[in-house]
Symmetry: C2
Subunit: 341 residues, 2 copies
């Protein structure tokens, strides 16, 4: 299996992308195609102890252009045909790679996948699906930011794609799907959610009803559906609140001798908590609904996050995620048709 | 000054409402009017050590009906004319009380205020304004759940009312107003926020631009504006994430002897953190935009939360919050007119 890694994407690239890719190659015997400025990638490979024979699984595809964080995504993708993210997606489109991983400009990564790979037939809007750490493991939140404005049909498709994701990647049988809202009752919500609730109720999804904000971190459902505006705020707010908490605890644990003593006593527990909250554990989030596996990683990704993103991409390929979504959309009576109307 | 307390509202009523009201009366020499089932209130007053002379500041207005948590708010308010929340609002309308505090069914409390007190002229949609604890103190979030669907004009009015609130109650000079969105740039957001951003930019508000979810807990602005669907999810998610964190730390600190020893060492720091996060510190949230001071408290309010809600209501009366909002709306050139169109 071949995974294309956008070596130029992310705050610490190409170094961390290259290191993470090498780690994944070693761990799972995957072929890694680093896409980006060849000379820079070669330098990083050398710095990481790259030795031709030992790393026969590694190759480079030169892509001289780079899309930066402040460029307009769709425009940049159209103009920079030789940027690392566009070339990496093209490799997937042409069958030279099975999946692509990028920690670059999220909008550009989405645009490159959408424009290069195209949508799965019947899918109106691809969505970013993020695994959020909860008390019970992880809940797949989607859409985490691809579509700021959605209609009920979009949300239903998110529920369907999230279900396939949870089944295929997390091995959950008949995943429970919740609709993020402001009250448990089906009469609570904004117009979008009120209408969506009725669609979900009639669907074949294992719909457990509305989920309120305070229930989300408890992990009451396997898949939580919302529009990309709400999802992105939920994702970032959770990160923000968790960060503030960790900072405040850190202050308590470093601000005095008593605090420092306490910190030593509970070091293991704190580390395990920090690990559970670490986005690097998950590595990245797939853009579901495009015709290929695209994993979008956090801009602050380090080697471990890249490694996990590559392994995640490989798992998605192994499990046939795209075909399963295609099949689910086809099987879903009426839904495909409605989308085409 | 007279504050009407809905003695029947909240999970622990009338006991906690009565105790909190008595504490506020004692602390600030306020007149408290307990509204609800007279016999039950009398029993609680007796249990709390009520003695006629010492509590000349306390009176009771009988309201035999109670609106429960599962009733449809507007319907219940229209039918139960003698419910505690409706009677308490009527006291404000008639000038027999200066403010009302309720921890009952939030929807019913809003409906009772809207239907009984009416809107301030020019205000399209009253909003719930919640002080959210942040690293720098508190950010006023509105709307926290009164209006699931809003238009840009509503959001601008929320910004205006939030500004008056921050000035009048928190004593902040020229409060910084942020628009909750999914990117800092004015091109990021859903349709509502994109359009609202342009209105905010042209307004006289001290608008600092979009605020992302992760910035909210850092307290980067004094007033954060969003629609009531997003606001309610933000509020409850923050509560949920904080709750999960406290629980996990609790497990670390109680799960082993080392943990228990650590807990003793950092007891004071943890308590201070817990206090800062405690909604009871703030007591409640005003429904801004109605013609009277209405403080809506958490359903789980205990005596201290009721006391703080009453003191908060008294402060809002002292500072002339309603007149200042009325004046701000009048002064706001064009805005009043646009609303009436």
């Amino acid at each position: 299996m071949k995974i294309a890694v956008d070596a130029m994407g992310g705050d610490f690239s190409p170094r961390e992308a290259v290191r993470g890719g090498l780690q994944a190659a070693a761990e799972k015997n995957l072929q890694i195609i680093f896409v980006g400025r060849e000379e820079e990638i070669k330098e990083e490979l050398a710095a990481a102890g790259y030795q031709g024979e030992a790393h026969a699984l590694v190759s480079i595809v030169d892509a001289p252009e780079v899309i930066t964080m402040d460029e307009h995504p769709a425009t940049a993708v159209r103009k920079k045909r030789n940027s690392s993210i566009v070339v990496a997606n093209r490799l997937v489109k042409e069958g030279a790679a099975d999946a692509v991983v990028s920690a670059g400009n999220t909008g550009a990564a989405m645009a490159a996948s959408l424009l290069t790979l195209g949508r799965i037939p019947g899918i109106a809007r691809p969505a970013i699906a993020i695994p959020m750490p909860t008390l019970r493991g992880a809940t797949i939140l989607l859409d985490a930011g691809a579509n700021a404005d959605c209609d009920p049909k979009d949300l239903l498709q998110f529920g369907l794609m999230g279900t396939v994701y949870a089944e295929a990647i997390m091995g959950i049988d008949s995943p429970q799907v919740g609709l993020l809202s402001i009250g448990e009752e089906e009469t609570k919500g904004n117009r979008l959610v009120l209408e969506s609730h009725q669609l979900f109720k009639k669907s074949s999804l294992n719909f457990i009803g509305n989920i309120e904000g305070q229930e989300l971190p408890k992990g009451l459902c396997d898949v939580a559906v919302c529009d990309g505006f709400v999802g992105n705020i939920v994702l970032k707010l959770t990160e923000g609140v968790a960060g503030v908490f960790l900072q405040q605890f850190k202050e308590i644990l470093t601000g005095s001798l008593r605090g420092k003593t306490a910190a030593l006593l509970i070091k293991a527990g704190l580390q395990s908590l920090r690990n559970r909250l670490d986005y690097a554990e998950y590595g990245g989030a797939p853009l579901l609904g495009v015709q290929g596996i695209t994993i979008i990683s956090h801009g602050r990704s380090k080697a471990r996050a890249f490694k996990n993103a590559v392994l995640f991409g490989a798992k998605a390929v192994e499990e046939g995620l795209i075909d399963r979504i295609r099949q689910a959309i086809e099987d879903y009576r009426g839904l495909g048709k409605k989308v085409k109307e």
